[in-house]
């Protein structure tokens, strides 16, 4: 397995308040993870945990405050020329959450695809561009005659497929998919999730799947990264993490997923689900206020990720000191 992309101590802070304000919001703090070729990595966490900020840094919409992103071994901060910039954004395109807001409503849907092709693959003739647009539409499960439609004529699921077709036209290595199914109806979500696995298996594309829905992450992803308050709480092969969650936050998250097939678990009742404070945070674990396992160390030292079983890391003092799995919530 070749590593495609790696982040090293990726950090992004935002200044908030007026010009005189010294307050800083730590959206993403010291995040290091990798994405391999032909791999779907799910980035999960509650709203405000920094998932989308990471995606935006990977798409070069935000510059990191510190830390570095390596793509195919080369640091992104070295990208200077427009040519390299274009090449990178073609290799790592983004698919957005809102299929109703992310397609220009006044053009036919082929407009976006053809523009991407013209910009990123200038060697193609006009005829070849049309053929290629029809091909990618076929791959994502749309008829070629859909190219002539206007966005308002398509359903939400079809529009989101257009988003994937547009990304695919650039022959990407990695698609950044920020909550691509959360605005779709449940009956058509599965179709999109199946499309993502198809792109991985047949087109060899890696996908960073950003979601708050653990069940859908399990359905498509190979690895899981759980974020909490801008930091990675736990990461590892998805089946391993879900079967043996080591971080108390992952355990809380899993216990809260509604599962009609399982009996009701009541442990989460004590948890209010209040979001963590990420404005000028002091050292220490950011989950400690909600954590039933918290010890004194948690208030003083920020836990770092440590490998607890092969490929499976957790940032938790308690999990790291005890060899066995400690269940805080189940």
């Amino acid at each position: 397995m070749t590593e495609l992309l790696r982040t090293e101590h990726l950090t992004r802070h935002f200044k908030i308040g007026g010009t005189m304000s010294r307050r800083t919001l730590h959206a993403v703090d010291d995040v290091s993870f990798g994405i391999n070729e032909r791999e779907i990595v799910a980035l999960a966490g509650e709203s405000g945990s920094g998932k989308s900020t990471i995606a935006r840094m990977l798409a070069r919409i935000y510059r990191p405050t510190s830390g570095e992103i390596y793509f195919e071994g080369k640091p992104l901060s070295r990208i200077r020329s427009r040519r390299d910039q274009l090449r990178y954004s073609g290799l790592v395109p983004m698919v957005f959450q809102d299929p109703f807001g992310s397609i220009n409503p006044v053009f036919r849907v082929q407009h976006g695809v053809l523009r991407c092709l013209k910009l990123h693959r200038p060697e193609l003739s006009a005829k070849q561009r049309l053929d290629e647009a029809a091909r990618v539409f076929g791959v994502v499960g749309l008829n070629a005659d859909m190219l002539q439609r206007f966005p308002y004529e398509l359903s939400g699921g079809q529009r989101q497929r257009v988003g994937f077709a547009q990304a695919l036209a650039m022959r990407p290595k990695l698609i950044l998919a920020d909550e691509p199914v959360s605005m779709l109806d449940v009956s058509i979500r599965i179709g999109l999730l199946n499309l993502m696995t198809k792109l991985r298996d047949e087109e060899g594309v890696s996908i960073l799947y950003i979601t708050h829905d653990i069940a859908s992450a399990r359905y498509v992803a190979d690895r899981l990264v759980v974020m909490y308050a801008g930091q990675i709480a736990e990461t590892g092969p998805i089946e391993d993490v879900l079967a043996h969650p080591r971080h108390p936050y992952t355990q809380l998250l899993l216990s809260a997923v509604p599962d009609p097939r399982a009996p009701l678990s009541v442990a989460a009742e004590t948890d209010r689900g209040d979001p963590p404070k990420v404005i000028d945070p002091a050292p220490g674990c950011r989950f400690r206020w909600r954590c039933p396992l918290a010890i004194d160390t948690c208030a003083q030292i920020t836990p770092e990720l440590a490998e607890l079983s092969p490929g499976h890391d957790a940032a938790c003092h308690v999990a790291q000191t005890t060899a066995e799995e400690v269940k805080a919530f189940s």
Binding site: S187, R189, P260
Partner: protein
Amino acid sequence: MQSRVPDTPVLEVSGLSVDYLLDRGAVRAVDDVSFTVSRGEFLGIVGESGCGKSTLLFAVAQLLAPPAMIAAGSVTFDGANLVGLTDGQLSAIRWRDMSVVMQSAMNALNPVKTIGAQFKDAMRAHGKHTSEEVTARSAEVLRMVGIDPVHLRSYPHQLSGGMRQRSMIAMAMLFTPDLVIMDEPTSALDVVAQRSLMVQIKDLQQAFGFAVIFVTHDMSLISHFSDQLMVMYAGQVDELGATRTIFDRPRHPYTQGLLEAFPSIRGPRVPLKGIPGHPPDLSAIPTGCRFHPRCPHALDRCAEVEPDLYPLDDELVRCLRLADGSLSS
């Protein structure tokens, strides 16, 4: 976690239809919907966007505004038909006996007023109360949903999404109503906050015995909380019955498809298919059974004959295959 279900109905909806009067003609968003909610019962209504579930709630609460209007049917609440009542007559019932929790607390709360001021508005509008009574009751309901009463002086933006949603529920509890109508109150929350809110609603319901109508698009969310479940598709009821029965043995192909559309976090990883196609546009409804273009079991006559709601055991199911017993339990 099933609550006791006494028999007196608090709400009886019968033959309710709602039309949107548009330039190109009337579009029927809710078509001939009937159901009963007993005292202290939890009714879950699920369906996809555009199936008419929110319109139905608005019709029950008499909150429809033009171009929507009730075309037929009645809404009997505590023995009185609400359809056709004037605003003045409704005002005596609203909030005292029937309250509504809206989908997005972000927009439903007034951003420039404190939580306490908004509670006071609601109490003043629906009864005579001294300021001491208002303050005492406001603090009491906030405590009931687990929020410190100091937040009566907070503005909505100072609260987290979960707290805003809980203060909306507190507001609905001001008068201990008989019926609380909830329109996707948890949709803006993440799973952990969602679960804690659901448990809270259920606890309050058991403590005070009000009935709940809960609308959601997420079927798995209410699987442990509702007594009765109603599945809607394209403005009609497709299946209505006890929640546990429907989850254990869904009868309508649409319900079956919905249940199979949720990946599970436990058990083996199995490929899922979802439901092909997409929900119909209500201004161009398919002939016959409205679900037949997407139905894996559709027969020829499904495209021609419009199915009724057929009683089957203790359930109602709208499917032709169940009408003549060609597919029994």
